[in-house]
Amino acid sequence: MSLAEADAMLEYADREHPPVWGARPAETVRGETRRGERFPCDPEADRQVLRELAWSGFEFTPVVAIEETDTPECLLLDIAGCPHLFGGEAAMCRRVQQAFQNQGLHCRIAVADTIGAAWALAHYGRFEIVCSSGPLARALAPLPVESLRLPPDVLKKLARLDLQRVGQLLKLPRAVLPSRFGKQLLVRLDQALGQRPEPVTPLVCPEPVEVERVFAEPIRKRDWIETVLEELIVRLTEQLQQRQLVAMQFTFRFVAPRQPSILRLETDADESKHRRPPAMIDLQLVAPTDSASYLQELFALQWERFHLPGEIDQIVLRAGQLSSRKTRQRALFDRNDDGNDAKLVALLDRLRGRLGRQSVVRARLTSEWLPEEQVRYEEFLHGLPTVTAGAFPPEWTARADGSLPPRLYRRPFPLDVVTCDDRPVRLRWGRETFFVHDCEGPQRIETGWWVRRLIRRDYYRVATRDGRRLWVFRQRPRDAWFLHGEG
């Protein structure tokens, strides 16, 4: 894409989505600074990213390749024999699209009998997902000649002769084409129509990396298991290093021994009871690793609070979410000091390892009305969440500092309130009584009945006689009072 094109797109995007609450000058300034940054083009980095993306294609088919040009921009998936596993071609395409959307990427997909036709339909088809059926010539005829992956000078010649569509080219006698437009045109045309082979070099599918240890007799002693686990971690990381891989997920499976049939009770008919479901420890990291010591440290955090349900006779350690070793985790936080970023990732892994994945989050503001819904919490796994401070409803941004309490309770506490002229004059919360000196409000917040059940609240900011600031609301129409925040 040329710089001018990129600029035009940015301008268009700004016009389509102006800064939402741009009434305040601060907001407009922020809106302008968000207008895109320029980075030098780096084809090798593009190719590397595409190669990394290609790994996710193995979820759908064993043959994944990257388009073979100087500036590749397509992934080629040979789905022969695979679509029925996903409920047909269209359903498979939707799954692929979803998989990329989960990574924050928008993609166009085409299914066709040849690579050339699929490329053309993906780039110039009318829809984001195109599954072509029927003769290729008919599918390609309405597409522009650019869809044939031709060099610019050939395109120029075609334009001079006003040959705009592939259909027009197909009508010309084949013998004329090489002499007038060069050999490349005929090659591309034949490749698109399946009359000439087009070789691709598929990437090698990574096999899951797994190590296991089977014991001759069931064991239970934690010390022994710990020693074996350390050895398994070392073996696993050695395998990863040999294959130039790094992984983000590590699963430890502790398999319970099968109960010998002689000990089974006759009444115990349920087969599943004869073998306990395996106990698991699942480590999901923030950044990929292949370091044994790092894994051992993280594992120890989980192991110290892990309850082993009984004897085990097999331990399986499996590495998942593999990627090539050159994969670099995107910087989690910009402007961080160079060496500290790795330490921060290690801290996050430790915190998530001990406290659980949902316990370490980042907040993101949404434009909901209810105070408790104005924030969404996100884990770090899916890239960087974008934060837009301007996404408040206008009334809240206008005086955000004053109207939002610094401490917002997860669940509002019920209050006993004495009112006068519809305004609170005395609040009782548990054993404490607060006399209202002054109150500001009501600020009514109401949810749309079409969203879910109607919620209507009148919020008051209360200053008590001893100088405290409380944030209370009156639930309408039930007329119950709640304390929702303070400060």
Partner: protein, 271 residues
């Protein structure tokens, strides 16, 4: 008891003060400091009251608040934007999930660089705080809820202080005011009390403020006051108190008047 003439007494006091400041400031130098040593508290008026002109990296700052609704959170969050200026992240230990990101965003705190940690148990919260303070990538660690609300946890505070020294970040603790008599390892201890409208010693009401008029029902919560006691401060002398005025519209904090040595309980420190 030595007798001083009027002139030499002031000189001697000044000399003693500077000597004491040197002694206190020289204690516990940290090894892993990067960037600026002093972070502004985010409130220039408070910076002027502090001997270093702000909070020192690699130390703990303890905010003590007296019951609900004091608004102490509004003050302690002010330190985050200056602390993040030189990189790093802000990590908030929030076991009760009461931290309000909306207010943080309104106070110009970068939410992308604010991590919320929600431990389920008290010991996990302490562990998380220690880990976070130990990590050089974390510029400021805030123990949002009353993490350490028992007096017997002085040992834990010492651990946190050592962790902060190792990591070089700033630790901000929020604790109940009932612990002000207990020793602490924090470098700076600040006590916040709400100021009842019209209380003795409160700043004189300007005509625009109608807080003293009981009958007035029009919205008048434009600004409110807090009393801030600097109970202990390394390198500082005695305790000081001040009235702060908080503008509800902008969130700005101003010093209204500085009081004489506070009448609160004498400084208690474990150091």
């Amino acid at each position: 008891m030595p007798q001083y003439h009027d002139g030499s007494r002031a000189d001697t006091l000044r000399q003693l003060a500077s000597r004491l400041r040197q002694l206190q400031a020289g204690r516990g130098t940290t090894a892993h400091r990067t960037g600026r040593e002093i972070i502004s508290s985010g409130m220039p008026d408070l910076d002027r009251l502090l001997p270093d002109g702000g909070f020192r990296r690699g130390t703990l700052v303890e905010w003590l608040a007296d019951g609900p609704g004091t608004g102490v959170e509004r003050l302690l969050l002010q330190v985050v934007p200056p602390a993040l200026q030189e990189g790093g992240v802000c990590l908030v230990i929030d076991p009760r999930q009461e931290f309000s990101p909306a207010l943080a965003a309104a106070m110009n705190i970068d939410l992308q660089r604010t991590l919320l940690v929600r431990p389920g148990r008290a010991e996990d919260a302490v562990w998380a705080a220690e880990q976070s303070l130990r990590c050089p990538g974390v510029a400021v660690t805030i123990a949002w809820s009353e993490l350490l609300d028992r007096s017997a946890e002085n040992r834990i505070l010492r651990r946190l202080q050592l962790a902060a020294e190792t990591g070089g970040g700033l630790g901000v603790l929020l604790r109940p005011a009932s612990l002000q008599g207990q020793p602490s390892w924090a470098d700076i201890r600040l006590l916040v009390r709400p100021v009842p409208p019209g209380a003795r010693g409160a700043p004189p009401a300007a005509p625009v403020h109608s807080l003293h008029k009981e009958t007035d029902v029009a919205p008048e919560g434009v600004r409110h006051w807090m009393e801030l006691d600097i109970l202990h401060c390394r390198g500082g002398l005695g305790s000081r108190a001040a009235f702060l005025e908080i503008d509800d519209e902008t969130g700005a904090v101003h010093l209204v008047s500085e009081l004489a040595d506070s009448t609160s309980s004498p400084r208690a420190t474990g150091a």
